[in-house]
């Protein structure tokens, strides 16, 4: 199979105006991926499926990823004028930058016919709140149907063009998206006979005022 760089270059040549980028995975898995902009997502997917050299006709897995907004510190070298009148000196400046959050839909593609893969395809939303629409790839790979519904349910990604976009795991009246990093689960830890770890922290909110000393409370007789 071609390398991802070659695929990216072919995609850029085939779809002028698209933004296809290579996302490098620095981990030991080294499973690099292709980031495609949402407006060309469907066309790129069809190309990957139908191209005779790729024939990625099987989408084995589709998953959602939540990337909350994060702060990055960048070190920039800027030229500061010398107050004494000499030549400007170069000074390192640390700039804090807020990277806005986004949601990702990740597709793992294989070719059964040509026996290669996976090619990892990513689509990214503009933010995590109001612009969370991505093109659905269910019309391209039928196997995405339930998994896109799951990503819609648990992450809140809206897949445009999905034939049946409903919640699949949670009930229809449910409003939250449980797999998002900022999801707050319902607090039903009022009865924890032997709490420890995270459960202890949650159960402690239900302790009567003044009941402290949780370390000693661990060994108390249970009702």
């Amino acid at each position: 199979m071609e390398t991802l760089e070659q695929i990216r270059d072919r995609l850029l040549a085939r779809f002028p105006g698209s933004a296809v980028a290579l996302i490098v995975n620095l981990g030991p898995a080294a499973q690099h991926s292709l980031l495609v902009d949402g407006s060309h997502g469907r066309a790129v997917a069809e190309f990957l499926r139908d191209d005779p050299a790729l024939r990625l006709e099987f989408c084995s897995n589709m998953s959602g990823v939540d990337w909350p907004a994060r702060e990055v510190v960048e070190t920039a070298v800027v030229a500061a004028p010398d107050p004494a009148g000499g030549p400007p000196r170069s000074v390192e400046q640390k700039v804090k930058r807020l990277v806005p959050g986004y949601l990702e839909a990740v597709y793992h593609l294989f070719s059964i016919e040509l026996r290669h893969g996976p090619v990892v395809l990513r689509l990214r939303t503009a933010n995590r709140t109001d612009q969370v629409t991505l093109p659905s790839l269910t019309p391209v790979w039928r196997s995405c149907e339930f998994q896109e519904r799951e990503a819609f349910d648990l992450f809140g990604i809206i897949f445009e063009g999905h034939p049946d976009l409903r919640r699949i795991l949670m009930w229809d009246e449910f409003k939250d998206h449980p797999m998002r990093k900022d999801y707050v689960e319902p607090d039903d830890y009022e009865w924890e006979p032997t709490p420890h770890g995270d459960v202890l922290a949650k159960a402690r909110k239900h302790y009567p005022a003044g009941a402290g000393a949780p370390a000693a409370a661990q060994g108390e007789p249970r009702p």
Binding site: L169, E173, F174, K175, Y183, P186, W191, G212, A216
Partner: protein, 222 residues
């Protein structure tokens, strides 16, 4: 100080025969029993469970019903596919919040007298999945549970032991008086409220008529 002129006090009712006396009579071919005893004896040996499984505990429940463990020895082999014909609800597995209203509905559809076994850690408390956003932390929040069988999952022998304990419980029930089971009380058995699907959680998150969080007294020099 007794007055010799006073009429004699009415004789106290005869005390019921002891078990030893009954065994002695049974050896002579005389069976002494009471309606209550006969009724409970019959009920306790034909507890028909609902054919209903939720997770891996259900596999152990199925194993208990098969030849090796053979729940038929205790009269409970007739797993009914309809709640209308079942006496026992074995909640065998993780109850998700999406499934909980259906479990409560099945319980309501079962005719009295009915019993509920919470089988395994999940049905008791949520078990290893209790921190999941969609896991009910114990089915006893919505329906009255008669028996808890710990284990993850409990072995079939544990289920059989639980069933024997349930039979003990059935045999100990009276058919009249304030200790009588729900269906023999005036007014009949109340239905359990089926929770609604809310925007963030089930509404209500527990049925206060059935379950309230026990008060935990935590000492330790607070």
């Amino acid at each position: 100080m007794s007055d010799p002129a006073a009429p004699p006090s009415p004789p106290s009712p005869p005390s019921p025969p002891t078990q030893a006396e009954r065994d002695e009579l049974r050896r002579h071919g005389i069976l002494l029993t009471s309606l209550e005893e006969l009724y409970n004896w019959g009920r306790s040996h034909s507890v028909w469970p609902l054919q209903f499984g939720l997770a891996c505990c259900a596999i152990e429940m199925i194993a208990a019903s098969m030849a090796r463990f053979d729940i038929a020895r205790f009269g409970s082999e007739v797993f009914r596919p309809s709640p209308r014909q079942a006496d026992l609800l074995i909640v065998s597995g993780t109850v998700t919040k999406k499934m909980a209203p259906q479990v409560v509905r099945l319980w309501n559809q079962m005719p009295e007298p009915k019993y509920c076994i919470a089988m395994g850690a999940c049905a008791i408390s949520g078990g290893p999945f209790k921190q999941g956003y969609n896991v009910l932390k114990g089915i006893d929040r919505y329906i009255p549970v008669d028996l808890y069988i710990p284990g993850c999952p409990p072995r079939p022998e544990a289920l059989l032991h639980g069933l024997m304990q349930l039979q003990e419980k059935i045999r100990a029930q009276t058919i009249s008086g304030p200790e009588a089971p729900r269906h023999l009380q005036a007014g009949g058995a109340p239905e359990c409220a089926v929770p609604d699907f809310g925007a963030h959680d089930l509404q209500p998150p527990q049925n206060p008529e059935v379950w309230r969080p026990p008060t935990i007294i935590r000492g330790g020099g607070a």
